[in-house]
Amino acid sequence: MEQTSIVSLRNISLSFDGEVILNNIDLDIKDKEFITLLGPSGCGKTTTLRIIGGFLEPDAGDVFYEGKRINGTPPNKRNVNTVFQKYALFPHLNVFENVAFGLKLKKFPKEEIKKLVTKMLAIVDLKGYEKRSVAKLSGGQQQRVAIARALVCDPDVLLLDEPLGALDLKLRKDMQIELKRIQKMTKKTFVYVTHDQEEALTMSDRVVVMKNGKIEQIGTPIDIYNEPANAFVADFIGEANILDGTMLKDYKVSILGSDFPCVDKGFGENTPVDIVIRPEDIEITSPEEGTITGDVTGVVFKGVHYEMEVRTKNCILLIHSTVSSSVGSHIGMRVDPNNIHIMNKLFPTPYNELEAEVTYCNEAENSVTVEIEGREVDIPGYSFEKGTRLSIILPPDGLYVDGEGIGQLTDVYIESVIWKGAHNEIILESDERKWIMHSAQDEQVATYVPICFDFSKATVKVLDGEALNED
């Protein structure tokens, strides 16, 4: 099937009050496809949709519609219609008038309007509801009026902003199928925004995974699920065991202290990597036959499968299996090389590397004070002259969130939190740099926390290179 781009976004950037909402977005939307923008709240997916709809203008970058640049074209001049999150039906009009609204503006003859509206209401299964007040319809019915109202204008592209968010689960599932049916029947391009990964996988031809104003991955649902681009995508889509590993060499990876054969190559030798193993891909064997072993600590029946928690030597694994093992039993586990998915680390280095200058030396207490991002921070156990430049290597567990809420750095943004089987790998962003932190505690993404440093775990050198760490 030959598909051409109907909408293209090129290098779109947007900030509000100094906060970056979209950071250099590039996206091609193909004609007649069902494409979903997926991501946690605050990732910029709705903003992207509003830029396509014409409700927002990007600070930089171009929006193309069928090859023509349409920056600055108002919404009413774009052949694009939107279904809003809370439907935004006009309360003073009945169902028929709501749907006919766009056609009336386009000055269609009355007969024609009547015909088109009736037809569209039939498509969305609302025949006979013409005279009803929209305020008295159920959520699902309102939703369908909103879709009919947008579709009756015959747009080439329909934008849907979390349209099912307000519906209950059962209705949402029905509407997912319904939407897909309508899309196929009307042969329109649907651009769909959601934070529900299941919804995205169910309906979409392609999924665009976004985080912090950036596109992390674009692909078919199967690609996204099976070949996530990084730990974030893997974590966000479906359930996954995300583990730290080391790529020993091509086709050989070390995970949890055991070596596994794999099908990936090109990462170099002894490179730290992230590993994704889907819970259904771990095969349960007898302890002797397994590559690794562990003890079952929990079993939950999920209808089609059992969800099991297995504690190995140093982490907890999640397994989906149709056969259950009882709690407390010792089992072996095996993974097909095809099912081990290897990805580059989200954080470029395994440690936090920083440079700082000594601003004060307290010889009596054997400690120095350095300045980090404008804050005075004490490093105990060292003695340097004032003015010495230091290189500090701080491992991920040398950082912690200050429970008392004060912190040596305040208002540090939590960019991502990924459970690595034994601990959370947290990536933080302060004013000047990013930090990696390991923590047993769970933190909420997209919030601000105060953090403290534990320099007893750090390696401190004078920048000339002489090591002074006693440990």
Partner: protein, 622 residues
């Protein structure tokens, strides 16, 4: 349980009683045949008289006109403003919202004065006078924040996506507003309009400062306070209350009905069209009224008189203003005041052609060179004025003034209640009448009585005289029931007080309402006062003013005025037309011999007057 229920009902009943008793009394009194608070039978007379009273009807028309226009303009302005503010972000919005609320918090008196200063200043630069325009502007000014306050919440409640959805379906921003957003805001807009309308309708303070010669109803009612509030005002208040009450009920019933039916009918478009048409009609109506008032006469005469101080066609009198307008084909702009001091303040900024101040005030105006010498060739009817009212001390050569009314301060007492013989002001210090004596709540008149008793000359007091008089008033204070002005009518007519000093014409009127009352002309003499017509220096039409003064001296006009005002007329020809029992009444027309014993107030310097005010308040309230 039942007990509690009863208790609740009782409590609610009390609250309603508290809220509505005053209105119930007002409505009842609007049907009272007597002018006083004594019930003397049911009548519709006040309603009939209300509609015949040109001053009230004009003021009512003015008020309605301003209220409708102010409400319409401020509704548009306020709605647009709240839209603008809604689209602002963060701190900017907060600042602008706070600033827009300041007119609501700002004391009205401050707003009023500052607007007056501004308009007077601009008026000097651009040559306009305070009047309809400035009043309308200031009303729009203080109404707009209320519209913003009632529209903004609706805007916040509205799903912001509605506006976007309309645009998405092909509306321009303007279309989106008129086809969708306005429906969501309509309740706020309507209530904003109604709030503005009612606030504008009853605003007194700001109007007082900015209306110039444009009389509105609250100002008109205020000027009537010089005498008692006429029951016509009760009738008018009743009508206003009933109208607003029914509007309220109708909107509530309509609202409840709409709620019941949902919004199924889809009559939104009709409603909006209706609103637009209604707005257009109102504005057109306003314009027409303004236009019609400007048309069809050759000149305008601005008259500034005491409240209820002219014949208006009631009780077989001439409608003096209408008659003058007809005869000269001019428009009389008739304004009223409540005290000499108020009039004095007003003429500093406004120009009037004829004013009617009292004796001492005329002296002050002459001293300050604020009056025009009259050309008596243009006032041939001056010959009708009896000689004893010419060349009085305040205007010794009679160059600036023509007497209009006169009278004396006398004593009114209740024959059945008062103890001892009443022959002079001594009776006000009689211990036997303790607790039943009323005294003037007015420094000039109260101090004059005290000074007279002390043998001092009340016409031109010194500070030392004032101190002595105040000491005497303090001595009297334990005997005094209350210091009053127009409450005197109710207290005397309803047998609540035994004795009070008051103005002769008003005592005559009280005696009409209570047969137990009698009067006494104090044997030692008393204050003799004259109100006279003058032309201020800044008059725009002095010739027409002289024509008006001449007209006022015509016998029939003088008779009419005298009948309505109740005070004595200096016009011999007019007096001759009065019924015998009035013209021969010693109280209203005391003999020349008695008048020789009396004194007149003269122009009191400002510092003495202020000292008087201050000392009197101290004496009467300490």
């Amino acid at each position: 349980m039942k007990k509690m229920f009863l208790g609740k009902k009782f409590y609610i009943g009390l609250i309603f009683l508290f809220l509505y008793a005053p209105i119930a009394v007002l409505i009842a009194y609007s049907f009272n045949a007597s002018k006083s608070s004594v019930w003397s039978g049911f009548t519709f007379d006040w309603y009939i008289k209300l509609f015949q009273d040109k001053a009230i009807m004009t003021a009512l028309g003015n008020t309605l006109l301003v209220a409708v226009l102010a409400a319409a303009f401020s509704t548009i302005l306020g709605t647009v403003a709240s839209l603008g503010m809604y689209n602002l972000k963060g701190a900017k919005r907060k600042i602008i919202q706070t600033v827009s609320n300041i007119p609501i918090i700002n004391p009205e008196i401050v707003t009023g004065i500052s607007l007056m200063l501004l308009f007077v200043f601009l008026g000097q630069v651009f040559h306009f006078e305070n009047g309809f325009g400035t009043l309308l502007l200031s009303h729009i000014g203080f109404c707009t924040p209320y519209v913003i306050l009632s529209v903004t919440p609706k805007l916040r409640q509205m799903d912001n996506h509605l506006f976007e959805a309309a645009q998405d379906l092909g509306c321009t921003q303007l279309q989106a507003f008129f086809q969708v957003v306005i429906h969501e805001l309509l309740p706020g807009i309507v209530s904003g309009f109604l709030i503005s309308f009612t606030y504008s309708l009853d605003d007194f303070i700001i109007s007082f400062f900015t209306s110039g010669k444009f009389q509105t109803l609250p100002i008109e009612i205020y000027t009537m306070l010089k005498k008692r509030v006429s029951p016509k005002i009760n009738a008018l208040s009743t009508i206003l209350f009933v109208v607003i009450f029914s509007v309220l009920i109708i909107t509530n019933i309509y609202g409840a009905k709409q709620e019941k039916n949902g919004k199924e009918k889809g009559d939104g478009l009709k409603g909006k069209k209706l609103l637009c048409v209604a707005m257009a009609v109102l504005i057109l109506f306003g314009g027409l009224v303004v236009y019609s008032r400007c048309a069809n006469y050759t000149a305008v005469l601005n008259v500034f008189n005491w409240g209820e101080n002219i014949a208006n066609g009631e009780d077989g009198t001439l409608d003096v203003i209408a008659e003058f307008e007809k005869r000269y084909n001019v428009k009389v702009n008739y304004n009223e005041y409540e005290s000499n001091e108020e009039m004095y303040a007003k003429i500093q900024t406004e120009s009037y052609d004829v004013i009617i101040p009292s004796d001492y005030m005329i002296g002050k105006l002459i001293a300050e060179d604020m009056l025009l010498p009259l050309d008596f060739d243009n006032i041939p009817n001056y010959k009708n004025i009896a000689d004893e009212y010419k060349n009085l001390p305040y205007d010794p050569d009679n160059t600036y003034s023509v007497p209009y009314t006169w009278g004396v301060v006398a004593l009114c007492y209740n024959k059945d209640m008062v103890k001892g013989e009443v022959t002079g002001f001594d009776a006000l210090w009689n211990e036997d009448n303790k607790g039943q004596i009323l005294m003037f709540n007015n420094s000039r008149d109260a101090l004059a009585i005290a000074m007279q008793r002390l043998g001092l000359d009340p016409s031109n007091p010194t500070m030392a005289d004032i101190d002595k008089a105040c000491a005497l008033l303090k001595e009297q204070k334990p005997l005094v029931q209350n210091y009053v002005m127009d409450q005197v009518y109710d207290l005397m007519e309803c047998d609540q007080s035994a004795i009070a000093p008051y103005y002769a014409g008003d005592i005559y009127y009280m005696m009409d309402n209570n047969e137990s009352l009698d009067y006494c002309l104090p044997e030692e003499g008393t204050n003799f006062f004259v109100d006279a017509m003058c032309v201020p220096k800044n008059a725009e039409n002095p010739e027409l003013a002289e024509a008006f003064i001449n007209f006022m001296l015509e016998p029939e006009v003088g008779r009419s005025n005298s009948v309505i005002i109740g005070y004595a007329s200096p016009n011999s020809e007019a007096v001759a037309l009065l019924p015998e029992e009035i013209r021969n009444n010693e109280l209203i027309y005391p003999s020349k011999e008695y008048l020789d014993k009396c004194y007149m107030y003269s122009n009191t310097p400002a510092d003495i007057y202020n000292y008087m005010q201050e000392k009197f308040i101290e004496a009467s309230t300490s």
